[in-house]
């Protein structure tokens, strides 16, 4: 059994808590949150040991690994402390708020040779993996443009009181929504080297952006566009879509479908000329315990598997998440250079 601790019982934390607690090889020995309200519910009706101080939890629980799902501004301290105590670390996205913190966490994970993973769960969705595979195989030829989009109904009123509405705490559409899209673009076609024309738009929020628009440039000539808006009521929930243009065709992928348009038939891949659709039902492996989506369980399975096998190579490593943070930093710098 992998002895696991969890810090932070917000939306993602609670979800991780349920999946970990139901996991066949995980022993969730401790959970920690600063809100006594949430802890009281778990203490009263659950079976885990509850803490309000994560250091105390680590000292008392003899953990193998820890899940950090506290707000982003706490990540660096919690992750560094845990690594120094010899724990494997899974941390929620976004990874951190500045590059110095990020480098420190990457270095520590390397020095202590610990499994390190960031909660970019889209990397565990079958359709996005299929898109990555198809493009890497050259099925749509040389790629020349990528479009990353995400829309959803998070902030629809001029008011907000949680940490998501504070820039200094890692709130805002850029950190919360756009980071997912940037990370996915990276996963599928690589990390952009430069950005330009960044618009961080306030729609309803005062302190943070509600939409992010930008142009991305790659050294190899690939270009891209980012169009993300979390104040779009026409969407029922967050919807993310990546479109990649190639000389031989294009791929349009979201969490449910991978659509491939080809100018010529591709026999090896079994793809016809014109539109081809691959559905999530054919691309998803079933999980042992399901909550909200296979990907949330799949990312935890991957992490636990790495811990068990002592494998530090990871689908969503600190380093890959750090690249996302760097793009976020470039976008912020670009947007403010004009303000």
């Amino acid at each position: 059994m992998v002895k696991t601790g969890l810090v932070g019982l917000g939306k993602m934390g609670i979800s991780h808590c349920a999946i970990l607690n139901a996991h066949p090889v995980v022993d969730l020995v401790g959970v920690c949150d600063s809100s006594k309200f949430i802890l009281a519910a778990l203490e009263k009706h659950g079976k885990m040991n509850c803490f309000t101080d994560y250091k105390q939890m680590i000292r008392q629980s003899d953990l193998d690994c820890i899940f950090v799902a506290a707000p982003t501004r706490f990540h660096a301290d919690m992750v560094c402390y845990s690594l120094e105590k010899g724990l494997h670390v899974f941390v929620e996205k976004p990874f951190c708020l500045n590059s110095n913190e990020g480098k420190k966490m990457i270095d520590l994970a390397l020095i202590h040779n610990k499994v390190n993973q960031v909660g970019y769960h889209n990397r565990f969705i079958g359709t996005f993996n299929e898109a990555k595979r198809i493009i890497a195989r050259g099925v749509i030829g040389d790629i020349y443009h990528v479009l990353g989009e995400a829309f959803g109904p998070v902030v629809l009123k001029e008011k907000g009181s949680t940490w998501r509405s504070h820039k200094s705490e890692g709130g805002g559409c850029l950190y919360d929504y756009a980071s997912h899209v940037i990370n996915l673009i990276q996963f599928i076609v690589g990390t952009p080297n430069q950005v330009a024309g960044t618009v961080l738009k306030n729609i309803y929020s005062q302190d943070v952006d509600d939409a992010v628009y930008a142009t991305l440039f790659y050294n190899n000539g690939l270009s891209g566009q980012l169009s993300v808006n979390w104040s779009d009521e026409s969407y029922r929930k967050m919807s993310t879509q990546i479109t990649v243009m190639g000389k031989k065709g294009k791929v349009v992928v979201d969490a449910t479908e991978c659509k491939i348009y080809l100018r010529q038939e591709n026999k090896i891949e079994g793809l016809e000329k014109g539109w081809n659709i691959r559905y999530i039902t054919d691309l998803t492996k079933s999980v042992d315990f399901y909550l909200r989506g296979e990907e949330y369980s799949a990312q935890i399975d991957h992490f636990i598997d790495c811990v068990l096998k002592g494998k530090t190579e990871n689908v969503s490593s600190f380093e890959s998440a750090f690249e996302t943070d760097r793009v976020v930093e470039m976008l912020v710098a670009d947007a403010y250079s004009r303000k």
Partner: protein, 285 residues
Amino acid sequence: MDRIIFGDNQFFAVNHLSDEKSRAQAMRFRTTKAIIEVLDLAYDLGIRTFMCTTHDRIAEVCDHIRSNPRRYNDFKIYPCMPYAHKYANAVTEYGAIEALKRFMPGSMLGTAAKGGLALIRKDFIEMMKLLVDAEMKMFHGINTEVIFLQNVITDLILGLGMDDFFVAFAEHIKKKYGAEPGFITMNMPLMLEILKKKGILNPIICASINKIGFRMSGGKEHYEKTIADEKFRPIAMQVLAAGAIQPHEAMEYVCRQKNIESILFGASSRAHIKQTKELIEQMSS
């Protein structure tokens, strides 16, 4: 329960196979009138049970049903609560406690006071009951024989191991509404095991059951064995696996699992509803 239960995903832009289809559905069912028209088609084809989430728009459907008692005299609604996105979005916007406060108090002073007290005392069972009552308000005067806990919440509680809530939910549903409790889950074998342990016998469980094993956590074989060997009342949903299986093949598989009591499906056209209903009836006989 009826053999055939009509679902509501199509009305609220829920499509597990395609975001694009979801949008098309959102456009088609933007008015409650459009929803009622399809419900009428199902009703006129002999379907009597409608299972729906406690989406705000369902309140308008309920108003319509109440104001036409003769037209819908044997119509039943199985509510599924809560509509999770409503809560998730509120938690993102206000934080957990403030979101809870917003959903608990009704217009009556009594509920508000009770809710406040429950919050202060951290009486989570009481809070759950108040939330159930708030969700149930829209159904007053309507026949709701079975009341379901929606899968995100069921599976969250299941994962967290807070099984007391299942017992409290079941008792509250029976006592206050004279109804049967039902549980929607994506983890059916595990759920049944826990309910049995908690003394909830022969429970109504609605779960994905389909030929390709889509969203059947723990594996298709485990599901098949549980259905064959255990005593409970299964409702099969997602029988078409979001459209990945042809209707004939899909229904043939589900109807072969002899202990499945009911089959849930949603459709938007008369032809489609009729075809699916006839298929189920034909395969069931």
